[in-house]
Amino acid sequence: MTQCVSVDNLTKAYPVHTAVDRLTMSVPQGSVFGFLGPNGAGKTTTVRMVLGFARPTSGSVSVLGHDIGSSNDTDLARLRRRIGFLPDVPGFYPWMSARDVLRFAASLVGVKGTTLTKRTESLLELAGLSDVRQRVGGYSRGMKQRLGIAQALIGAPDLLVLDEPTSALDPIGRKAVLDMVAALRGRTSVFFSTHILSDVERVCDEVAILDKGRLVTQGSVEELKTRYGGSSRYALDVTGDTARLRTTLGAEAWVGRMIDTASGVELTVNDLDLARRRVPAIVAGLDVGLVRFEPIETSLEDVFVSLVQRDA
């Protein structure tokens, strides 16, 4: 598969700390790529290096086939016209209106004429700012974030780089942004940097997890769940004497961790075959009613927490 962003052994070291440490990863073209990490993991520094706004201490970055380090100003400008960028804190000229911002952004990326007018109006509509007459200086953070997304899309970019795009949005605004990102799948590559796991789980095809500047893992959401979650966690719900059930299960060697729930237990099993044979027998032996015995699906949050905590 063609890669729209390739990062090779990328390092950004400051005098007191290393923000990004030998990072190697790639973003498949046309995918929605989640770049996940806790605050301070090095996500924004990586984004800045991908865009050529920060120089790597070592390593290389290639974006849409262009090596960022060896590009001159003109090449870099031409490349950036193909990239839509939303920074974590978008900066706007406070005296402009939302329409002014979009028209200015459009003029910089070379969008003109009727395309400019049509695109400006449709993006204002998308951002919910069509009827806002206020200047940008008086906007709330959420409004600025929505305008930031609109300006990132004005050039119909080949690559959309979003740095924490939903962090300042209310649930409705957040849903709108995630729906929009999902709708771009296949048409535009999206590099989606965030610390919100549910957003990634909802829209991303591929995920890279970063912690302390280092890549912890990369793969599709399903791959990561399978690789790191496995299917060893089960929910066992019963009716009747759950206390006796817990005591009995606690004595079994094939039971690893056990967490009490309202109507039973959540089990981590060491031997799945044995568990499948023994659980019905134990339930029948204790004369309790079996309501549910099924695997618990691993969430991305489980994967993330286990990986980041393991790394700590």
Partner: protein, 250 residues
């Protein structure tokens, strides 16, 4: 220079949409109206304050022009320096520079558009204020030799534009607008001190510090070399600003 036109339009619109439209032009207009009046009133003020039986000569057009160049060289130049002290670092701090550069604007286009808009903001009000100065002087003194006034004002304008370029370089290199203004004012004082040294006054932009006053007084002052070296060094300052912006991380 990709994006130069779009960014220049933005810069010019910004002048109209913000306080910048008023501060420097109003300062220059104030100088234009106040200078002849102040020259006219000076003998009376001095006589009253000193409380001595002094007989001062009647004020002349030369006094008005001298007052004008003094006001330009002090008050107006200070306003020029402060007005542009956040030209680049302000945009870096607010994230607007990153936003514009992420859209394909080159650092060269960014800086040259800033310089061009700043020059326009200084030059156009200076031209208008010069006209007002000539009219006020004619009303107050009955005459206003235009050639002398123009030469003195153009010499100041060259100095002011050179200062603008230097302030933009400092604003690119430094993170703080107040540090930029402070350092620029210190450099301005240093330039004034250096201008008292003959060779510096004859061959460098330092010669422009005293030229407006000398020209206003009708002296034959050779300021071609200071103007030429100011133009050459201003071009170097622009190149320096572009290189500095390219080096800066956003």
């Amino acid at each position: 220079m990709t994006g130069f036109g779009s960014f220049l339009v933005k810069e010019l619109r910004e002048i109209v949409a913000t306080w910048r439209l008023f501060v420097l032009p109003l300062t220059l207009l104030f100088c234009a109206v106040a200078s002849p009046l102040l020259a006219l009133a000076t003998p009376y003020i001095v006589g009253t304050v000193a409380n001595l039986p002094l007989t001062l000569p009647d004020p002349t057009v030369a006094d008005a022009y001298a007052q004008w160049t003094k006001n330009l060289g002090q008050m107006a130049l200070l306003v020029v320096i402060v007005s542009f002290s956040s030209a680049v670092n302000g945009e870096r701090a607010s994230g607007t520079a990153a936003m514009a550069l992420s859209k394909g604007l080159t650092p060269a286009a960014f800086i040259v558009a800033k310089v061009a808009a700043a020059y326009a903001l200084v030059a156009v009000p200076t031209a208008l204020a010069t006209l007002v100065m000539a009219l006020t002087t004619r009303v107050v003194f009955g005459e206003a030799p235009v050639g002398t006034l123009l030469r003195a004002t153009v010499a100041w304008l060259v100095l002011a534009l050179w200062c603008v370029t230097a302030v933009i370089l400092l604003s690119t290199v430094l993170d703080s607008a107040s540090a930029t203004a402070g350092l620029a004012i210190a450099a301005w004082v240093a330039l004034a001190v250096i201008s008292s040294w003959g060779p510096a006054a004859r061959w460098s932009p330092a010669g422009l510090v005293g030229a407006p006053m000398a020209l206003a007084m009708g002296s034959e002052t050779a300021w071609a070399w200071p103007a030429l070296t100011a133009a050459v060094t201003a071009a170097m300052l622009v190149v320096g600003s572009v290189l500095a912006l390219r080096r800066r991380e956003l």
